[in-house]
Subunit: 334 residues, 2 copies
Amino acid sequence: MEEDKILIAHGSGGRVMHGLIEDLIAPAFDITRLADAAVLEDFPSGRAAFTTDSYVVSPIFFPGGDIGELAVCGTVNDLAMMGAAPLYLSAGFILEEGLPLRDLKRIVFSMADAARKAGVRIMAGDTKVVERGKCDGLFINTAGVGALPAGLDLSPEQVRTGDRVIVSGPIGMHGMAIMAGRHGLSFDPPILSDTAPLNRLVADMLSATSGIRVMRDPTRGGLATTLKEIAEGAPCRILLKEEALPLVPGVRGGCELLGLDPLYVANEGILTAIVEASESERLVDCMRNHPLGQSAAVIGVVMPGEDGKVLLETRAGGTRMLEMLMGDQLPRIC
Amino acid sequence: MEEDKILIAHGSGGRVMHGLIEDLIAPAFDITRLADAAVLEDFPSGRAAFTTDSYVVSPIFFPGGDIGELAVCGTVNDLAMMGAAPLYLSAGFILEEGLPLRDLKRIVFSMADAARKAGVRIMAGDTKVVERGKCDGLFINTAGVGALPAGLDLSPEQVRTGDRVIVSGPIGMHGMAIMAGRHGLSFDPPILSDTAPLNRLVADMLSATSGIRVMRDPTRGGLATTLKEIAEGAPCRILLKEEALPLVPGVRGGCELLGLDPLYVANEGILTAIVEASESERLVDCMRNHPLGQSAAVIGVVMPGEDGKVLLETRAGGTRMLEMLMGDQLPRIC
């Protein structure tokens, strides 16, 4: 008996596509009314945040997560980094003919579960199908809308000399988990992706202090690229202390083995924030009370100078200049 | 000299990707501040509409349009069909390694142009790159947010016996243009895709009458599938008159040649509406004053009965029952 697979007709707009949507996708996301667009009643007035990301991660199932959970968390986190409360997500699927239906089901349920955990609703969706060989299993796009508090402006321009740089957890977990999944490497203990929704951690942080200047989740390009973006955007100069960077032994060892720098390896469940110096210890204490912030640490300081440089004070006592990621050491990490 | 092409590094999150975004995509869309999410200031309070669509049309350039224009208009139209005023769009690109940069440029400019015509702003974007052979040139996702007037509820449930069915223009143009592009067919005069933003036509219609029950843009699956969705959703019974259907000679001839039924061929620049009978002639007159509604016509009536059937009274005087599209005669039409 042939296993159930995605057919070209699942993207036709016709009866077969309606079946897929009515039997699987709409119930999983609790979408009760199918129309050209979702109606958001009582949308918070004033300010909103709006973002989108497409996900092409390979493999689609990896240690500690899958493309569905990633697609929800990634977009939730982009909203949270602006200080917005994520509310509504859309989900656009591009499916390859022949994709096992059970894979799609697993991913859809994973998205629904991640949305519940983050407290957001997936309100709108779309399904397209391309022929065998015209995409790689499936790609997912999520867009998201959130409510942005009045007066909140988290941006690199807010950064001041003397501010501290904070990271919420160990770096490089997601990228290393993907590498392990892709190349059949195994670690003991296993390295799992850190994929997680950061919005509740962010809500705690914003309640604890008004001293946060800017936040970012260091995904593609890793922590170094993200801090370089902030330093150039401010503009300011950032000094990081290598010995302060939270790093699990497996990521350290894996990076040494593979010749990678963990500062350039992607993360999907941590954030970096720049915060007023006098608030930094209190903020780190607050973050450590949250399950996703247990390893929060001050990792650097904003130095005098507006040259957009990011410097790393190494364990050996030297100083290294960090640039944005050049080339792409780990394609399709998200 | 090798032509400029998309590299894996264009999706890395690093320096090369920043170059692509800062040099091409952000300026084209007039995005001045790059962050994890866009800030929508002064979002109209109360009700919003939210939608998403991924576009995988093949070929990416076709007679009368391209995937970029389509991606903007399709999402604008989904918002407009709910009666919402489209405001903000996101754009997620999945690019294949080796895609000529000039193709991407042409498509990005086409999106910017379509957004200007529709009066919407592309506020958020994302770029991913997959290896050669892992997607088909490029795929685009657009999500959109619009403001929904208080009290407006356009939905199949509003349909009443005696209501009239209206279509805004000739059917089957987009699908036939794609077929021509894909298979090298030529028509004289050429058949061009009808891709267009319908939001201004819809605004005129909503100003003209409060008698509109439901609107839809009959894209994938064509007019028959769309009306079948409405009939099942209401539930109601719809009777169409074949002789009233606006159809250009090329589409009629092309469909005969290829064995296609124009009622199942996709459209990207027309809408169908169900409207209170007493308002239907006035509404059609109003629509004919708009460039996109010049061929507007009453094409059917809502009959007594709640069986979800759509019947076609043929030119020959017989009656044919219309189902949703089965299978997929024209894959990757949008």
